[in-house]
Symmetry: C2
Subunit: 472 residues, 2 copies
């Protein structure tokens, strides 16, 4: 079970080590216990985070697994990174963890400085403003709000708010609460709070029984792979989707529902790792500008370096930057970057008690130092290439099990014939010491940490090749 | 400036110590810096959290202030509490801070145990289930969702979801996304994400320009003080509001908009510290049951012990418990308690990547130990009585400046003649070494930590008495 692998980060383990089936007896016992307190049916297994290191997740039964899912893509530089341990051991940092401020009114002395050395040091070009939030959903919710305010101010053309607006907004009615909408894409995922959920269209179980808003939903391209064999078909598919976006904006305006913004993921993640070309996104950005809509890029899952650039949308080569970019997960704190013109025109308009968490900013600053020092963006490109090449090879050998191999950096995925096969493959892989994640109907997605190296890719490919060879 | 005060918690300071105006020169400089990155107009001053201890907040200009606002009511046991410092210094706890898991799928070994020793050890009677979230808004958003699912399942009467429901929900339409509503109260505050914001009606600036939902809004009683002088008027006022609640439920059902739940704060906080009688809430609970609506009590600001009971709604003496109780702020993690019947009937229905944060659960467990060990609920009752008695005395002496003194535990407040006077009083107090917070149009609210003692109340009252005597 143990594969020999080069150790190049001294805190990483040298391979998986399996002792029981997963979930093992201790995990099963704990599941039963937790299920008494809350629905625990989504739990895969229980973890021993103290023993987890680098790319390896250790469970409570002593199994050590190569983790290619990294807590739904939210562990940037591996488990128990020595730099983060050191950070926590410094007495001067204690206060940041135990005295959580209301950042919007009483920030700590180093707040701006820390934003500069962390988030602003990796800000997408043209987006010099940043607001932090506690999670991805709050990031998108507040980005929507910033967009709605911007749109309304543009429409008003002056700063005077009428008495009617101030009164009607208190009872949820226009003109104070205007009938604005965000346009989203079928297959997209932007979070699960009510505003976000109105733009999420990945799985029915996320949306069922929850009241929603009549906001326009455009089709997202369904590309054929390999891309080079289907250039014309894919171009036509993308053109069809873009046309539909414009039609929807016009159609909704006719019914007095104004599309104030468009939200899109650079790669639809929960929805099945659906890619579109850089050209598609450039044209989408143009459509947004043409119709006066804000262009919001949701980088909650794609951001942080895994595609080989810090932000996946930096691959597109936009002339005019996105208007708003949201983040969370690997960034440890949620939040959003935005252009100057989207800056709230008064205090307390984008606000909540915590507005993020300085202890997360502290850790993020260190994570970004490590990313730069260890050149982890180039590593993602390199290791991603090793992974993708290997997957393409497996696809050639096992076309009945693997299809539509795709990826950017380590942000890779492939399709399986169906949901049952996908889940079976994930389970077998887990018992062989590899944690994988699913997405969409029948895809498997790779979301390793940024310290996932070529040799981890080879290790995985060896194990998975054996699994495919023996798959029945 | 320094008042002599008994030191009974050894880490607390013995009084305010003022060196400059607040904000001082260093704060002003930092404000300018932060304002380059984001709208920083809400910032009061910048803090030195390393030097802040107990009930005292120290700013970057070296001013030490008695903090009666405690980061919008979110510091449970004071700044830099020795028990929390000790917790952070224990090497075995490091992992919890640097390896943040996706709690819903890969929880740490001690997850259930920690929920038991923390949240469940203080769970409201009859609410044995708990789900954690990262903030107050996400707590309410997800509580709404649990209520909508519960209501729909009740309506369905069976577990079979139709194909039409599964398909329509993907495009935000009924029957999959039913036209359900939460009933809320004018003056209430439940957060600022789109779902929460549809139930928030405290200030126009929170809601202006943001699209909303046509959900019913009932009047909240406007009681007259002192309560004992206006028994009959107040009863009539409460009866009027309750009648309106029932009328709205019926009226909205007629237009096919179903009120699935009622959300209410035990004391409307942001909206101006508006109280209602225990009898009002008991009757509201009955109305909810009578009409088949869930009864959601939002304890984000009132919870955690400041009213003298762990949950403010425990004062009401309900026969039938609330259905759902949300929390955040002083609880350090967001989340909600609920009855068994509100348990999601499938995994991933109430879900997000982080689902809270085990590092907050770790600190909360310690905070709850301190609350129990130091008998801080009784302390809140006792210190609150000292504070309220003193405020009533000031009201008698300065009726042109102070009116409608009210409170439960240390959760006290009073009205000033108008917004300008209120803000002036807050500024003067700050320059005399006391941090106060406003709420509503013209109220000042007290939100001290749970280690606020009688002597802190007397210290404040002395300072404030001088301020009132010299107020021009």
């Amino acid at each position: 079970m143990v594969s020999a692998a080069k150790i190049d980060v001294d805190f990483d383990y040298d391979g998986p080590l399996m002792k029981t089936e997963v979930p093992g007896p201790r995990s099963r016992e704990l599941m039963k216990q937790l299920n008494g307190i809350q629905n625990a049916e989504a739990v895969h297994f229980f973890c021993n985070y103290e023993e987890s290191r680098g790319n390896y997740l250790v469970d409570v039964d002593g199994n050590r697994m190569l983790d290619l899912y990294s807590q739904i893509s939210s562990i940037p530089i591996g488990y128990s990174h020595p730099s983060l341990i050191k950070l926590l051991q410094q007495p001067q940092n204690l206060s940041t963890f135990i005295n959580r401020p209301a950042l919007g009114i009483l920030p700590p002395e180093n707040f701006a400085e820390r934003l500069k050395e962390s988030l602003l040091s990796v800000a997408p070009k043209g987006l010099p403003q940043v607001i932090t939030m506690s999670c991805g959903s709050c990031s998108n919710e507040n980005a929507f709000k910033a967009i709605f305010m911007w749109y309304r101010n543009k429409e008003r053309g002056h700063n005077n708010v009428t008495k009617e607006e101030l009164e009607s907004c208190m009872i949820n009615q226009p003109p104070g609460c205007p009938d604005y909408a965000m346009l989203s894409f079928m297959g997209g995922f932007h979070g699960r709070t009510l505003g976000c959920l109105a733009t999420t269209h990945s799985k029915a179980i996320h949306k069922l029984d929850i009241p929603s808003l009549d906001w326009p939903i455009a089709p997202f391209p369904r590309l054929k792979y390999p891309l080079e064999d289907f250039v014309k078909e894919n171009q036509q598919e993308e053109a069809r989707c873009l046309e539909e976006v414009e039609d929807l904006i016009v159609k909704y305006r006719k019914k007095k529902k104004i599309v104030a913004g468009i939200i899109v993921e650079p790669i639809q993640s929960e929805g099945g790792d659906n890619h579109a070309s850089d050209d598609f996104f450039r044209k989408l950005r143009d459509i947004a500008r043409k119709h006066g809509c804000a262009f919001l890029v949701d980088e909650v899952q794609t951001g942080g370096g895994c595609t080989g650039k810090f932000w996946a949308h930096e691959h597109w080569g936009l002339d005019d930057p996105a208007d708003v970019v949201t983040f969370s997960k690997k960034m440890m704190t949620g939040g959003f970057f935005h252009k100057e013109e989207f800056r709230p025109n008064a205090p307390y308009r984008i606000f909540n008690t915590w507005l993020g968490d300085p202890s997360k900013n502290l850790m993020l600053a260190e994570v970004i130092k490590v990313i730069k020092r260890e050149d982890l963006l180039n590593n993602a490109t390199h290791a991603g290439k090793a992974l993708l090449t290997g997957l393409l090879d497996l696809q050639a050998r096992y076309p009945h099990l693997i299809s539509r191999v795709r990826g950017r950096g380590t942000f890779c995925s492939f399709d399986t014939p169906n949901d049952a096969t996908r889940n079976k493959l994930i389970t077998i892989a887990r018992n062989k010491g590899v944690v994988l994640g699913g997405c969409g109907d029948r895809s498997i997605r790779f979301r390793p940490t940024l310290i996932f190296k070529d040799h981890h890719a080879h290790l995985f490919l060896n194990i998975f090749s054996d699994i495919l060879a023996n798959f029945k």
